[in-house]
Symmetry: none
Subunit: 220 residues, 4 copies
DNA sequence: GATGAATGAGAATTCATTCAT
DNA sequence: TATGAATGAATTCTCATTCAT
């Protein structure tokens, strides 16, 4: 039985000094990276920049991450990990289309508003370059939305839509409207969600039927 | 009469060899850059990569562009310059909401389909990183859409919507659905446009009133 | 008790291998630079030339110096640091003008003779270009001479001279005569110093009064 | 007989348009170079910088000079060419040591004062790097001074000095004091010359005998 | 595991110079 | 002779990564 395993199983060594430092260092790096990405933008940031924003030594970085890509991904995944369950839960408990739609958007916009620093790292205001990294966790989030749509359709909540396109549309609206919201002082998460919800509520019934749908008169 | 003089007076002056080469070289670089960006993705591409994809010498690159950012921007602007007038024209001649909306989306999706190579440069297939560079020309395109919405609203074509959010929503749907479309073999520009149009046609009347709107029961 | 702790407590701590290497590398670079400057002249020397004259990697250079200017300055400062105290001491202990003057020149010319390699870096034998870098340390040396002159004047050792011009004159003679000395086989430090001393000894009393001087009929 | 020769001999083609432009262009380059050297310092200046400061094309530069070194040398030579005859004349007509010495220094300091821009290019105030290029013309000026000293010695004007060291001393004092003079507002050419003259007048008789002197007990 | 200096490949960029126009 | 874009060698410098301590 190896030492690592013993330690992780041991109920009365809840966080050895080593583990604590490890968690702490990882956190230090992630926090530093968040700040640096937000300041320099993803493209211009180098591993050195991140290390410099840290009290740690350069070699230490590589005990935690292989590259800036990996840190970036970790940051994105962390966000996704925090919001995905909330979104899914909202949709799971939705009894109506409206609850499904508005629950999704309101949760998302509220999250973005709380988590601005992070969101801004993706879309840096000061230069023209937007970056979005579709990490496995984020893609899973998209896929989950798609499946929730399919499930809702099967429950008869939704008409037979093209779930793939609908998911894309919701994602596009969510990200793009979120960005506008952050730039405006007259619109908060509630207004943004109201807007997006109304758009989809009105539109949803008019949509051409999707691939998995039943008998329908799809097409343009 | 000397050759130079003759040339400068000639109304159809065939643009001296010098000018011709300049135009040609600029083109050479832009084409090479397009290919390289599509292959390696924006982030991984270096100026050297672009030069290598060119018959030109390294120094020559710098006679035309200062950095890869600048070439990238030039490429994006070029695309925007090609599509913007088409989009605007579609909307200007729209007599109904439907023409406005479907004209915009169909034109956009058709452009993307034709121009795949370019659009793909934004998102390298093999990695998760999306980039979008909002060049002045592109931003102007967004703004133009916003103003066209305002104008249509004033003409009574649209109900009093939040033009900023509506523009953002259309942009988000356009880009995100376009990407899906490119990945799917069962959906082309016509289907994508039909989907997006239906969504907005249904939704538009349900939208809360915008900032410039008249008396209506908007809000969350 | 761990090794690090032991080391840090040890009063004769032999400067860990790391520190040793750092000092050594800095030295390696300075030595190489001295050689290269002497051979190619300051102007023609590149950072690469210096690195090549070193067993180190290119990046290592930049851990120690930012540019060839900085290495050059370090070399000059090092020289100045070695000679300044000697010069000052000579002058401080001078009981007569003659000791002041001859002590300064003899010390300088002897230093130059010992330190030829360095001095020659200022002037490449094969071309016409002289360079002199007035580093802070060197300027401080000039200023120290000026102040020593002022002090000697206040002690009544010197007549009330223009200390600024006198300093300049001594500096000019020192550098220019030193250079001649190095080119001649019939004159060494002793002769050069004798020459300069005689010049200033004879001339000093004839000088017009300086700015800080008392009542006298100076001027041209 | 070649065209160039014919042209240069022809009395009635005092300056064909071609020649005029040539002289003008050469002048343009020299003036631009003077400005740029004064601004950037010799080391940092590139041929491109000089060309940019000119209305001419890059290729044109090479019709006149091979490198920045050559332009620099031309500038220095031009100065030397202007002052050398004046200095020599002063010394040739000197009936006494004093006239020899003071004529030399006053002429030099006046020249420097008039010609500041030029002189400053050599010794750039804003950074630490001094450059002096001993062009053939300048070296000839030094040598001329040495020979004038020898001649004056032979005429019995000077005691039997070490002409080489004396020349060096005068050169050193001239350049170093000139620089101080330019930095001071309370001392002009007259004062600088008075200072230098007094120094050398007093000192000269005390100097050890030189190499070319008669029987003397020179040495330290 | 942490440290941080060394490494050296390679990226960005400049520059003197050429040469077709 | 003037022009100015093209050239590509050369230079500066950064960076991710390693590894002895």
């Amino acid at each position: 039985m190896d030492a690592e395993l013993v330690r992780s199983l041991s109920p009365r060594r809840p966080a050895g000094k080593r583990e604590q430092t490890k968690v702490q260092n990882r956190h230090l790096i992630l926090e530093a990276a968040r700040r640096v990405f937000a300041e320099l933008g993803y493209g211009a940031t180098t591993v050195r920049d991140i290390i410099r924003a840290t009290p740690l030594a350069s070699g230490t970085f590589y005990n935690y991450f292989k590259s800036k890509e990996e840190v970036f991904q970790a940051i994105q995944d962390e966000s996704a990990l925090r919001i995905r369950p909330r979104l899914h839960e909202e949709r799971a408990k939705a009894a109506t289309i409206e609850e499904f739609i508005s629950g999704t958007f309101l949760t998302f916009f509220e999250f973005v508003a709380e988590d601005q620093a992070n969101f801004r790292a993706l879309r840096r205001s000061t230069d023209a370059l937007h970056v979005r990294m579709d990490t496995p966790e984020i893609i899973a989030g998209f896929e989950e939305l798609r499946q929730d749509i399919v499930a809702a359709t099967e429950k008869g909540l939704f008409p037979p839509v093209d779930a793939d396109f609908l998911m894309a549309a919701m994602v596009g609206v969510a990200f793009e409207v979120a960005e506008r919201m952050l730039r405006r002082s007259d619109r908060g998460p509630a207004e943004a969600a109201a807007f997006a919800t109304a758009l989809f509520m009105g539109g949803i019934n008019a949509l051409p039927a999707g691939r998995m749908g039943g008998a329908n008169g799809g097409g343009a």
